[in-house]
């Protein structure tokens, strides 16, 4: 994999807040790379540093193996699509898209042709003479993409590209982004706080928290093998139980908690000594039953059904454990019992060892 963008030990502080804390990152050519994290985790700052809109306090940034740390934005082969698109309101769609080429003094005839081609690529052929204020949110988004991509950037930076769109448009644009990326063959770096977006779009992604990168990997690696409880929680593993490892065998750990029977789950990915751990189980892997333990599930803990949330094709059970923790189980409609579970009823939560994961603190 050829590296297109590299960050080496980059630090950026805003006043007393360390927005980016010693981040090192390598992003390959043609990758769709996402940076996932809650707001304030420093992910947008990383984009601004790559774009040249901010200068790091420490560390270096390389684009195509050339140091660009202190180059101004207009000297970098990088374009950015900001969260609110920042389209120029006094220019038509055509003039907006043509802006970057005009600034680089391309010939008017070439500009005309390139803009036309680009507008066709984002399916906005008829909108060239319109002003941004006359366009829908989805159309504005595509103008912003066209305005950046027409310059053939080596790297396209996307700041929460889908956040301002409604649910239906968002799904449409997800497909559109993937298609565009394959068509222009540029490296896309996308910042988002939506974990499903990051998992669906990315070739690889980084999970950020508090200015630090916690884990980098393919969506599957991040989902299947989170390295810390923060990553696991961010990626949708909301059910946790802390306990102590009492026995390790064949990559499986036996974890003890004073309120529950011993459970068996997969061991922590890095080193598995005996000691305190957090056990995490995905909501969709929990089996909820009103009857005593069935065969095939080795782990069983009792709970009380606290609430039921119906969501069209699945049911979310909110379950209160003996230690007052609330767990959530996600059950497809066709798997639910003919006899529905009643709120306040005692139930049994079951899962097999490979569905749970122990993470050391």
């Amino acid at each position: 994999m050829t590296t297109t963008v590299e960050l080496k030990n980059v630090v950026k502080t805003h006043g007393v807040v360390t927005a980016v804390d010693r981040v090192s990152l390598k992003i390959g050519r043609g990758e769709f790379f996402s940076i996932l994290g809650p707001s304030g985790s420093g992910k947008t700052t990383i984009l601004r540093l790559i774009a040249g809109l901010d200068v790091p306090d420490q560390g270096d940034i390389f684009i195509q193996e050339r140091v660009v740390t202190s180059d101004p934005p207009h000297a970098r082969p990088v374009n950015m699509v900001s969260q609110h698109y920042a389209l120029f309101p006094h220019m038509t769609v055509f003039e907006n898209v043509a802006f970057g080429l005009k600034m680089r003094r391309k010939r008017p005839r070439d500009i005309q042709q390139a803009v036309k081609q680009m507008l066709a690529m984002v399916r906005l052929e008829g909108k060239a003479p319109r002003f941004p204020g006359q366009l829908s949110g989805g159309e504005q988004q595509r103008v912003a993409l066209a305005r950046a991509l027409v310059n053939h950037p080596v790297v396209l930076l996307l700041d929460e590209p889908l956040a301002a769109l409604d649910q239906r448009l968002r799904q449409e644009m997800q497909g559109e982004l993937k298609r565009l990326q394959q068509e222009v063959k540029a490296t896309f770096i996308c910042v988002t706080h939506q974990q499903d977006e990051a998992l669906m779009l990315s070739d690889r992604l980084a999970v950020m928290h508090g200015g630090k990168i916690l884990q980098v990997g393919t969506p599957q690696e991040i989902y299947e093998q989170p390295e810390s409880t923060t990553v696991a929680k961010f990626i949708g593993l909301s059910n946790s139980l802390s306990g102590t490892i009492t026995r390790i065998e064949d990559g499986l750990c036996w974890v003890k908690h004073e309120a529950f029977p011993q459970v068996v789950v997969k061991c922590p990915p890095h080193g598995s000594e005996q000691g305190p751990v957090t056990v995490m189980i995905r909501p969709e892997r929990l089996h909820v039953s009103g009857e005593p333990p069935a065969k095939g599930y080795e782990n069983t803990i009792p709970a009380i059904l606290h609430q039921t949330v119906f969501n069209g094709n699945e049911i979310f059970y909110h379950l209160r454990l003996r230690n007052e923790a609330i767990w959530i189980a996600r059950v497809p409609i066709d798997e639910t019992h003919t006899r529905p579970l009643a709120i306040g009823q005692a139930v049994y939560l079951q899962w097999s060892p490979s569905e749970g994961l122990a993470l050391s603190h």
């Binding site: 934005p73 374009n79 900001s82 120029f88 802006f99 970057g100 950046a148």
Partner: protein, 268 residues
């Protein structure tokens, strides 16, 4: 309530001036209520036309200089941190705490042959002879720009503050240097500020009378000076009133022409 206020404080005085403008001058300077259009006919004099033209040119030049000087200042103020912005605003406003006449006299002290500017230039050895600065067209222009600059700066600050800094970043990301970013993004989007500021500077400049009188030495007659003289020296109130209406009509006509040109360009 609003109409009462406007009627009493705005419409009534205006109607009074209109009434006087169609009356006749009494033998010893009073107003005799004999209706006539003679006062308006007298304005057709080419001499009066030249005075009007000169005033419009001076006001136009003043407005232009205010725009050129005011824009960088307004841009810095609009993009400054809150504390700096407050400080700069105060600095722009401070001269208003002093009487306008006193401030104009201060310019005489600066500009005259043995004034601050000339003595500094001579002490530095840049000039051996004092320059003639006072009682020139340039002195009038400097005085007008000095007096009305804040009226250009303040609307511009408001207009520039409304331009999202994200647009500037987008332009810089799309290969614009600072200069071309200002030219293609900030200037066009500041248009409402230039329009409001332009009107606020042009209208008082075209009728200004203290500045041309004190800094121009009264050598070049301006509409404002002429009207003042008709009222206070010649004691010809009806002609002075007619001149006032002529000035008002001219400004309204210019305003109409400018706004029509701009809206036409927008429609294209």
């Amino acid at each position: 309530m609003a109409s009462l206020f406007l009627g009493l404080c705005f419409l009534a005085p205006l109607l009074l001036v209109l009434g006087v403008s169609v009356a006749s001058r009494g033998l010893y300077g009073g107003v005799e209520w004999i209706g006539t259009l003679e006062n308006y006919r007298r304005m057709a004099d080419p001499l009066i036309g030249a005075i009007f033209l000169r005033s419009i040119l001076f006001a136009g030049l003043t407005t232009g200089v205010c725009a050129v000087v005011g824009f960088p200042l307004a841009y810095c103020m609009a993009r400054a941190s809150h504390r700096w912005q407050w400080l700069l605003l105060t600095l722009v406003m401070i001269p208003f705490w002093t009487n306008f006449l006193v401030r104009t006299y201060a310019w005489i002290l600066i500009l005259r042959a043995d004034g601050v500017l000339n003595s500094t230039l001579m002490q530095l050895g840049i000039q051996s002879e004092p320059l003639t600065l006072l009682f020139t067209d340039a002195a009038v222009c400097v005085g007008l720009v000095y007096g009305y600059l804040p009226f250009m700066v303040l609307p511009l600050v408001v207009a520039i503050e409304r331009i999202s800094p994200q647009l500037e970043e987008a332009a810089r990301d799309l290969y614009a240097t600072t200069g071309s970013m200002i030219r293609h993004i900030v200037l066009p989007l500041s248009k409402p500020g230039f329009l409001a500021g332009g009107a606020l500077v042009f209208i008082p400049s075209v009728g200004a009378f203290i500045t041309p009188y004190l800094l121009g030495g009264g050598k070049q007659m301006m509409v404002g000076t002429l009207i003042q003289q008709e009222f206070l020296v010649s004691r010809d109130w009806p002609f002075g009133s007619a001149l006032s209406f002529g000035l008002m009509g001219t400004v309204l006509l210019l305003w109409f022409l400018v706004s029509r040109t701009l809206s036409r360009r927008e429609a294209q």
